[in-house]
Structures are given as C-alpha cells and as structure tokens.
C-alpha cells in the first residue's frame, strides 16, 4: 500500500510538469482559437535561450529576464508575420501554420545557440527528501515539490491576471467572441501578440524546469506529446483544467505503468511495459466518450 502511495504521489508531481506545458497550449487556444503545435518547440527555444545567456555569464535571474524578452519578441513577430496574415482562415490552416512554425524554431534555435546538449543548473538538486525517506520510506523529490509549487503559483498569477486586470478582461472578451471584442474597441492584434508573449513566459518556466531535469536539448520539444492528453482531458480552454488534467494523467500513467503490464503479461506472456506512450491518450479518449468537451471545456451546442 505504501508503494502504491509512493507511485501515486510521484505521478501527481510529474503530472504538474505536464500541466506546465499544457498551460501554454490553453492560453493561446483560449485567446485566438489556434491550436499551437509549436508550443513544444517554444519550450525548447526558451530553455535554450536561458542556457545561452547563462553561458555568456548572465546570472539566472538576468538570463531569465533576457530569455523572456526573447520570447516576447518572438511572440510579437509570430503575430505580425504569420497570424495577422491568416485572420479568417479555417482552424486547420492555422494549426498547420504552427507546425511550420515549429520546424522554423527547430532550425532557428540551435542555429542561434548551438545544438549541444547542455546542463541547466538552477541550484536545486533532484534528490529525495531525507526526512520523509527515513520516516515513511517514501521517495518524494525536493525538486518535484518545488516545481509543483511554482506551477501552482503560476496558475494563481494567471488567474488573477485574467480576472482583475484590464488586459486580462480584454483577453477574456477576445476569447469569447472576436467580432464583439473588436466592435467595442479592443485591439485584437495587440491582444494576440500579448497572449503569445504570455505563452512564451509559460514556455520559459516549463523549459527551465524540464531543462534542469533532463538537460537542455532538442528532446524538450517532445514534452508537447506529454501535454496533449492533459489538454484533451482538461479541455482546450480551461486553465484549471490543465492543472487537474495534468494531475490525473500523471498519476494514472504512473500507476498504469506499474500495475497493468504484469496483468497483461499474465494474459499473453511476454513483457508489456512501456505503455506510458499511449496510455494517457487512450485514457483521455475513453474520458472524452463520456464528456466530449473535456473536463472543464465549454460545451459546444450545434445548431443547424
């Protein structure tokens, strides 16, 4: 039983890491209806910029700010050169454009900063907390706890930002109805550029945490694959959905990886591990059959 809880807690904590990446998707989808496939590439780009500035001697905080500036500029450029020109296109064309964007970043980021695999030290060691290990014989990582705290803080910050600031309200208005927002004088283009910058910020935080965990390298773009089931489970438009979805996916994926393969091996014989790749997707799929708009998504009503 104690092992079960250890796996569960470990899963919940890694789920938070997935949520962080999923958040970036949600922000952009919410504000502009674009399914931004380049979010994974943005995580990579942000982490690479951070490490790049640190290699040039900047301390972590300064590098973080500089990387944020880079991501903001990138967001503005994306809006200006790609999205603005694609207003009124079908969603699939926009989706496709973001895939093109992700290729562009995959080439551009290493060209700028070099493509070696690098370590990112944010002064936090990924070790079990000795006290819990001694008393309960459970492994809870300091790093994971810190990441979870940071993610929660980020969500709280975003929620406050959306709820109480002028720009936040404008963002919500745009999300509800582009035309209506335009007609009451909200500058759509500025809002989009802004939301890409905010998504860049989220990508930077995700990139920093994932990068210091697994090293800064191209594989950071794969984090997007971990975030997609979180996204469908939580709903494309819900910030809390991304967090709750992440927790559910993280925990169930880890439990499944531990408990399902032995059962399958009992049925068929052989080794059935490594189900983490598809299990979250199948779970999200089954969940969608019950609730097609995700956990917190907006219910869509079809009218003829």
């Amino acid at each position: 039983m104690q092992f079960f809880f250890e796996v569960l807690i470990g899963g919940l904590l890694s789920g938070v890491m997935y949520s962080l990446v999923a958040l970036g998707f949600v922000l952009i989808f919410k504000a502009s209806g674009v399914f931004n496939f380049a979010q994974g590439a943005m995580v990579f780009f942000a982490a690479l910029s951070l490490v790049g500035f640190m290699e040039h001697g900047a301390p972590l905080w300064l590098a973080f700010i500089l990387a944020f500036v880079v991501m903001t500029l990138f967001g503005i450029a994306t809006e200006k050169f790609v999205l603005r020109k694609m207003v009124n296109q079908p969603p699939i064309a926009l989706f496709m454009a973001t895939i093109g964007l992700s290729f562009f970043i995959d080439g551009f980021a290493p060209l700028l900063w070099g493509n070696e695999v690098r370590a990112l030290d944010i002064g936090l060691v990924d070790e079990p907390i000795p006290w819990i290990l001694d008393n309960w014989n459970m492994v809870i990582s300091k790093f994971d706890l810190f990441a979870a705290g940071l993610a929660l803080a980020l969500v709280a910050l975003l929620a406050l930002f959306f709820q109480y600031t002028r720009i936040g309200r404008a963002l919500r208005a745009v999300a509800d109805d582009h035309q209506a927002a335009l007609s009451i004088g909200i500058p759509l283009q500025h809002i989009w550029a802004l939301v890409w910058a905010v998504a860049g910020f989220v990508a930077l935080v995700a990139g920093m945490l994932w990068g210091s965990r697994n090293g800064v390298q191209f594989a950071l773009t794969f984090t997007a694959l971990k975030a997609l089931p979180v996204l469908i489970l939580g709903g494309f438009t819900s910030v809390p959905g991304a967090i709750v979805g992440g927790l559910i996916i993280g925990a169930s994926e880890k439990l499944a990886e531990i408990y399902i393969p032995p059962v399958m091996a009992g049925w068929f014989g052989g080794n059935f591990g490594g189900i983490e790749g598809w299990f979250p997707y199948v779970m999200a799929l089954l969940f969608l059959l019950v609730r097609p708009e995700g956990l917190f998504g907006e219910k869509h009503i079809d009218r003829v």
């Binding site: 790609v82 694609m86 496709m96 895939i99 093109g100 551009f108 493509n115 490594g274 997707y281």
Partner: protein, 358 residues
C-alpha cells in the same frame, strides 16, 4: 482557349456523368498516364525510381487516404502512419504465414485489415469532433506502434521487431528492378486513385461532404452519420494500409514499428494541407512538394553557399534547411490556404479565356 468546354454537348446521362466530363481533361489524363507508364520507365534513372518516384506514389496514396477522411469527411486524423504500419505488418504476415499467397491479394487483405482497425479507432468520432478527435487519433498512433513492438507474433518472432519482407513476385514475374517495382506501384496507385475520384462523386462521397460541412444538418436530411463516418475511416485506412504495404514491399524492404512514427503521420498531413484539402489531385501535388522540397534544399543550399562564398558548416546548412522548410509551409498557407490544387484550378480558369480575356 485551350481549356474551353464550349461545344462539348452531352447527349446522354452516361456522358454527363463520366469522371472527366471535359474533353481536355480526358486528353490530359491519358497523356499523363501515358507519360507515367511509357515515357518515365524509359528515361528515368534508378535514383529517380528508388528515391523519388516510388516514395512519391506511395506517399501520394497515403495522402489520398487521409484526404478522404480529412478533406472529404472532415475528420482530422493524426494516425495515418499507424494505419500504414498495420498494412505493412499485415501484408508481411499474410505473405510469410500463408503458403502461396499471391502478393496482390495480400496487399488487398492488408488494406482490409487496416480498414478494420480504422473502423475501431473511428468509433470515437461519433462523439468527438475537431481537435479533440485529432488528439484522440494520436491514441491509435501510439497504441498500434506499441502493439507491433510488443507482440512478437506480429513480426514473426524477430527479436528486434524489425521485419524484412520477401521479394515481390506475381505469376512468376520477379519485381526486382526499380522499373518493375515502379510500374507495379504506379498501377496500384492509378487504379486506387481513379476509384477514389469516382467514390467522391458518388452518393457516398456526397454524404461525406455533407457530414464535413455540418454533421447536424446532414443528419437532419437523413444521412446516417455512423455509417458515413465509419465508412470514411474504413476507406481511408484501406488506402493507408495499402500504402503501408507498398512502403514495406516496394520501397524500404525492411521496416521497424518505430519507422511509422508520429513524424510520418505529420508528413502525410502536411501533404494534404499543402496540396489541397478535399482534392484528389492535391494529394499528389502535396506529396510531390513535401517530398521534393527537402531534397531540393539539400542539394541547392550547399551549392548556393559555395557560390556566394559563405563559410557554412554542414550543421548550419542543415539548420537553415529546416528553417526554410518551416517558413515555406507558413508562406504557402498565407498565400494560398487552399493548397496547390487551388492554384491549379485558378490556372485552369485563366486558361479558359487566355489569350482572349475579353
């Protein structure tokens, strides 16, 4: 002037309903087929057969399959590579396990197996729509590849999961030269493409398009949603499955499950979007574009950097290639979101009047 249908009167229903109602189109398609079947085998080099023509046709077939599902029936899918994998492994198993199984029959059975799997993974589409469905098809993508890795039976107990296909032989004729393999692939692809062209004009095709444009409205006018959507999944997966079998038997010769990765699914999706969603011709144009562009960049960029005297390392060139590839995709979407097929259509419109625009 060259493309004017004035004076071509239809006097029977049959004439009115043929696949290519305009004479110029008929001549064009016959010329194209004649070129592909007769001229190319004489002049193309082995490089063209092995590295460009054969993969082009195979990818075009897979893109066609996806286009039926996404372009005509409106169901976005990111799992085409997995259905190709099903086709490849099924064909292999039919060949290896059944003695004397004709290759063509095993291709068809492979397509049907893929269709069956497609129907299974198409079931959620009855409830889920849009991007939710796209992400859900990823479940098929990962699950199928995992199954092929995990069940040794499927790869005939190869310790690594890699299958190495037997040689293709039909009625004693060995398809061992690039030309012969090309002709085999070309025949299969042409037949299937014509079939698809016919299908999308039929009741089935119209039902698909009705569902794509608005499924609630389609249901209201009496189209059975379940049957229509699942049929689209089945037909689409059949095409992808046959493409996968050809990919293994006529192109690579040996495949591993990981080769049918998400990247391949995306590549096929690019093809239909760049080529034209909801267009048979677009599938071919898109496949050509996505396949040829990187090769072209690969050859042109180093030459260009040498010409301009820029000291680019090999890594830099590779990175720039990737950037240009991404930028071109965005550029195309901005300039012509309906794909290359639309450009062709515009061209035809112009040709109707040219050179006397007034």
């Amino acid at each position: 002037m060259f493309y004017r249908e004035t004076g071509q009167f239809k006097t029977s229903y049959a004439a009115d309903q043929q696949i290519f109602p305009i004479r110029q189109d008929r001549i064009g398609i016959v010329l194209l087929l004649a070129f592909a079947f007769l001229a190319l085998p004489l002049f193309a080099s082995n490089y063209w057969f092995n590295a460009i023509l054969i993969p082009f046709l195979i990818f075009a077939l897979a893109a066609l399959g996806l286009n039926i599902l996404t372009g005509y029936a409106g169901q976005l899918s990111l799992g085409s590579a997995a259905f190709m994998a099903v086709g490849a492994y099924a064909a292999y198993n039919f060949q290896v396990r059944v003695d004397g199984m004709p290759v063509l029959l095993s291709f068809i059975l492979a397509g049907m197996t893929a269709a069956g799997v497609g129907i299974l993974f198409g079931l959620p589409s009855l409830r889920i729509k849009g991007f939710y469905l796209a992400v859900a098809t990823l479940a098929a993508q990962f699950f199928i590849v995992w199954c092929l890795t995990k069940f040794p039976y499927l790869s005939n107990n190869s310790s690594s999961g890699v299958i190495s296909v037997p040689n293709v032989e039909i009625l004693g004729f060995k398809f061992d030269t690039p030309q012969s393999r090309y002709l085999l692939v070309l025949t299969i692809v042409s037949v299937l493409a014509l079939l698809a062209k016919n299908m999308v004009r039929s009741t089935t095709g119209r039902a698909w398009m009705a569902v794509r444009d608005m499924d609630v409205a389609a249901e209201v006018i009496g189209i059975r949603l379940m049957r229509t959507k699942l049929l689209a999944f089945a037909v689409s997966s059949f095409y992808c499955g046959v493409a996968g079998a050809l990919y293994a038997f006529c192109y690579l010769g040996s495949v591993e499950p990981d080769g049918f990765s998400l990247d391949l699914s995306f590549k096929i999706l690019f093809m239909i979007i760049v080529g034209g969603v909801g267009s048979i011709l677009g599938s071919f144009l898109g496949a050509a574009f996505i396949l040829l562009l990187p090769i072209f960049l690969d050859i042109a960029l180093p030459a260009l950097s040498e010409l301009l005297g820029l000291p680019f390392g090999s890594a830099t060139v590779s990175h720039i290639q990737l950037m240009i590839f991404g930028a071109l995709i965005m550029f195309f979407l901005i300039v012509e979101p309906h794909g290359l097929a639309r450009l062709w259509q515009i061209g035809k419109e112009k040709l109707r009047l040219w050179p006397f625009p007034h």
